[in-house]
């Protein structure tokens, strides 16, 4: 079954301050859905990592945030979209400690661990979209 989706909020990711705004927006949405503090912290952290990747490696882009529904389940889905150089080797990029840009190499792999669903769609030379989702547990 394909989860139903609400209308997406689109936030630009062009500056460091945009990442702070995104964290705030994601937090508000998670609270509105009723996520607990630990889950909120995990998802906001994952969003922060992926937003920074858009900025550092993708040359900027945007984030789409949407509320998702699947039967009685509710959750939050987020897409991080850039038109940057793309990721040549996804498996390598998902390896803990691997970095192409002087970071800790925990952004992608960490965001994956902190989410329930994780998808990367990347085309060298065209850009990267990373989509994550978190479902509220009952």
């Amino acid at each position: 079954m394909t989860p139903a989706q609400g209308e997406a909020i689109v936030l630009p990711l062009k500056t460091d301050e945009d990442v702070v705004r995104l964290r705030k927006q994601v937090r508000e949405d998670l609270i509105a859905i009723g996520f607990g503090l630990v889950e909120q912290t995990k998802v906001v952290t994952a969003a922060s990592e992926l937003a920074r990747n858009v900025l550092r490696y993708g040359g900027g882009g945007e984030a789409h945030i949407e509320h998702i529904f699947d039967g009685s389940r509710r959750g939050l889905a987020m897409s991080f979209i850039d038109q940057g150089p793309g990721i040549p080797d996804i498996a390598l990029a998902l390896t803990d400690g691997y970095t192409s840009g002087g970071g800790l190499g925990l952004g992608l792999s960490g965001a994956k661990r902190l989410s329930d669903e994780f998808e990367i769609d990347t085309t060298p030379g065209k850009g990267t979209t990373v989509k994550i989702a978190k479902w509220k547990q009952f």
Binding site: D16, V19, K24, T45, S48, G103, L104, L106, S109, G110
Partner: protein, 118 residues
């Protein structure tokens, strides 16, 4: 320019991070702290993150780097006040903050630094 204030208490420097820092602000704090260790002849640095609701890999790296630079400059760093949800998330993220001492609050952090100086 936006900055996080650094307070001096004797030979200790205290930073209380009360805003959601963007990356440039975090880098400025790292530079400011490193400079103040030398100019104030500080032997200890306390970083209070009790008001922070997330620590991601960038902030984590800033904290680790600050502690490493402080160590080279003969000062010890104690990270205090981490919220439980932040600790849970950091471990899951894969960040272990190696080389950084921690304490539950500022008071215990000061005790830890004073003990080390005796």
């Amino acid at each position: 320019m936006e900055r996080i204030p650094i307070l001096r208490m004797g030979r200790l420097l205290l930073v209380t991070i009360q805003v959601d820092m963007h990356d440039r602000l975090a880098m400025t704090l790292q530079d400011d702290l490193t400079n103040r260790i030398v100019t104030d002849r500080a032997t200890g640095v306390l970083i209070d993150i009790s008001a922070l609701d997330i620590v991601d890999s960038f902030i984590g790296r800033m904290i680790s780097n600050t502690a490493a630079m402080a160590k080279i400059l003969d000062a010890r760093t104690v990270l205090v006040g981490m919220q439980p949800a932040v600790a849970i998330t950091l471990v899951e993220l894969g960040l272990t903050l190696e080389g950084v001492s921690t304490a539950l609050n500022v008071e215990l952090g000061i005790k830890l630094l004073e003990k080390g100086n005796r």
